[in-house]
């Protein structure tokens, strides 16, 4: 077993719905329904899924922006859910979250210099005398001009703003960066620049990255390992080459077929997956994917599938996984 930086076991989180409580109980949305994963130092683990699958809730729960109902998080041997005070602050320095929308996550009234300085002083990473040198270093790390310190967020483009948000996260020398859809709002040419930057940062700083995204092409590009989420559960997890090359779960197979590819003449193929995501208020019994699954058996409607473990820690939650031929020839682009 390789060393583990962060390990999450059986995370469960429900949101109460708004509105009337029936019989004294409110309906609940199970955003996380037993999520287990681990991240090694210097590794990129991508969490991919469609809207409502719980991937952003997972990102927030890991930095304790959301308190879980149950489950365990361990970071470098410490029990994260038990951390208080200084210990929690130290954890929040070592694990940094970057959001999708850099318009919303940067203070519009603070210059870039002030934003970075604040992060440095809160966590007392460098003495005040060393702050300006560190800020210059950070800006060059994310390839922003040195005079950016004097400017405000609105003076930058979306891609540059995302660089500022990344610089702020890196300012406190985290060991794990949790990136929640950080390239989703960017144009493709700018997105490519940020992907290159993330690859460099990871190589130079030996940073672990939990990369949350709905974009399979971007995930394929960055990830060492991939977790596929559906309705609050990880339905498949494995090395990126295995998950993309020979997916075990019918949902992963459908996602890969549905994703647009740079390939001509696929227009007459059949729809990859019929039906829509069920409401998270009414998660189907048995395997939650069974109403949309093209292969569902009677058993799938009643019995939650156990984890099927394939070679190289490639696992999937499907009754059929051990019989299912991996989707052949899916060496996709």
């Amino acid at each position: 077993m390789t060393d583990v930086l962060l390990r999450a076991d059986d995370l469960v989180h429900s949101f109460p719905t708004r509105g009337i409580a029936w019989h004294g109980k409110r309906a609940e949305v199970r955003a996380l329904n037993g999520v287990t994963l681990s991240i090694a130092p210097g590794e990129t683990l991508a969490v991919v899924g469609e809207s409502g699958c719980g991937k952003s809730t997972l990102a927030r729960a890991l930095v304790r922006l959301i308190e879980l109902d149950s489950g365990q998080i361990h970071f470098a041997g410490e029990d994260v859910r038990a951390l208080r005070g200084d210990a929690l602050r130290r954890y929040n320095r070592r694990v940094q979250l970057v959001f999708q929308d850099p318009y919303g996550s940067l203070n519009p009234r603070m210059t870039v210099g002030e934003t970075l300085e604040e992060a440095l002083s809160v966590h007392r990473v460098v003495p005040p005398s060393g702050a300006s040198a560190r800020i210059a270093e950070l800006l060059s790390l994310v390839r922003l001009p040195a005079d950016a310190t004097q400017r405000f967020p609105h003076e930058f483009s979306g891609g540059q703003r995302q660089r500022i948000a990344i610089a702020r996260a890196l300012s406190v020398q985290p060991e794990l960066l949790i990136a929640d859809e950080i390239v989703s709002a960017l144009d493709v040419s700018v997105q490519a620049q940020i992907l290159n930057l993330l690859l460099d940062l990871q190589r130079d700083l030996r940073l672990a990255i939990l990369f949350v995204s709905h974009d399979l092409r971007v995930v394929r590009h960055l990830a060492h390992r991939v977790a596929v989420m559906y309705l609050g559960r990880i339905v498949e997890l494995g090395e990126a080459d295995a998950v993309f090359g020979s997916p075990l779960h019918p949902y992963t197979q459908a996602l890969l077929r549905a994703a647009p590819q740079m390939r001509l003449g696929r227009r007459d193929e059949k729809v990859a997956l019929a039906g829509e995501l069920p409401s998270p208020l009414a998660v189907p019994a048995g395997c939650p994917f069974h109403p949309r699954c093209p292969l569902a058996l009677a058993r799938c409607r009643v019995e939650m599938p156990a984890l099927h473990a394939g070679p190289d820690c490639h696992r999937a939650e499907c009754h059929l996984a051990e019989h299912l031929a991996p989707m052949a020839g899916s060496g996709r682009t």
Binding site: V188, S189, Q193, N196, L199, Q261, G331
Partner: protein, 328 residues
């Protein structure tokens, strides 16, 4: 060769001192899907709205828009009204803001049927149910009395397509119709669009920022950058032998499995500020081929062969792949 259905020449949209769309020309033939690709600010959505004269009065449009022998740029407003949603329909990215939240889906379809086909009452209702059925909404007759908020995102986009297609248009203008949708729902809507195009033999102009969608759905492509057309041609030519550095840069920016965890040959910099356009070619400051001629004047779109045209002065250097963007 038959005359094109829609023929746009030198279309320019001016808003105050800026021209978000400048000198754009293209044709759409019967039954074809034309993809319009560009990043934010490239003018692709404005261009689509300008065709149907949907821009507010502060935007001044010039150029000609020939539709089956008539010039839409000079058509009287009542005739234009009859055309919108009649022969030419449009769908938008955000179905929730394009649908009327206080009318049922059925009312919104029958409105179009009354306006364009003169159908009313029971015949309108049964035609409306047919339309919803056509776009793949289950239990169509009952769903006519649903309101937009009762539909999921994918169902709303289907309903919007239904409203657009109610009067049997010859041309559908689709502005990023799947951008807000999840990937499995996007796949359903794109396949639906292609099926409808075939069954109703209509043409489609599909505005998108996703080259993967272009590769899978379009016959021809037009690439816009900062309001100007940079390159146009058949989808296969554009994606395999691009003759403009911007097109090449866009293609290189899409991650490919074989290059996983490698640097992408990304385009450096960002698109120009429309108030401070660079002299000459607008892409020159980000380009790897720039010569003094590039900054002298904006190169016009030049034909390379019958159906492939580029606005680059050095298309052959791009095609031969001698130079490219650095991988960093």
């Amino acid at each position: 060769m038959t005359a094109p259905l829609l023929s746009v020449r030198n279309l320019t949209v001016r808003i105050g001192d800026i021209k978000p769309v400048e000198d754009v020309s293209f044709d759409v033939s019967a039954g074809e899907v034309l993809g319009v690709v560009g990043e934010s600010g490239s003018g692709k959505s404005l261009m689509l709205r300008a065709i149907l004269r949907l821009l507010s009065h502060i935007a001044q449009t010039s150029g000609s828009i020939a539709w089956r022998g008539r010039d839409l740029a000079t058509l009287a407003e009542p005739e234009m009204r009859a055309l919108r949603g009649g022969e030419i329909a449009i769908v938008f990215q955000e179905p929730m803001s394009a649908l009327n939240p206080v009318l049922t889906i059925g009312q919104q379809i029958t409105e179009s049927l009354a306006e364009h086909l003169g159908l009313r009452g029971r015949s309108a209702r049964s035609r409306a149910a047919e339309v919803l059925d056509l776009v793949g909404i289950p239990d169509a007759r009952r769903r006519l009395s649903s309101y937009p908020h009762e539909f999921s995102g994918g169902m709303r986009q289907r309903a919007m397509l239904g409203i657009a297609l109610a009067a049997g248009p010859k041309l559908l203008l689709a502005d990023e119709p799947t951008t807000a949708l999840d990937v499995t729902i996007q796949d359903q809507i794109l396949k639906l669009l292609l099926r409808l195009r075939r069954e109703l033999s209509m043409s489609v102009v599909l505005v998108t920022h996703d080259l993967g969608i272009v590769a899978e759905t379009c016959d021809r492509v037009a690439v816009l950058y900062s309001g100007r057309m940079m390159e146009t041609g058949p989808v296969e030519t554009i994606l395999t032998r691009p003759a403009h550095p911007y097109t090449l840069g866009l293609i290189n920016s899409v991650p490919q499995a074989k290059d996983a965890r490698q640097h992408l040959a990304a385009i450096p910099g960002t698109p120009p500020d429309p108030l401070e356009l660079p002299p000459g070619c607008r892409f020159a400051p980000r380009c790897f081929l720039t010569s003094p001629d590039c900054t002298r004047k904006q190169p016009d779109l030049r034909a390379l062969d019958a159906d492939h045209a580029t606005a680059c002065l050095y298309p052959h250097a791009v095609v031969r792949g001698e130079l490219s963007f650095a991988s960093r």
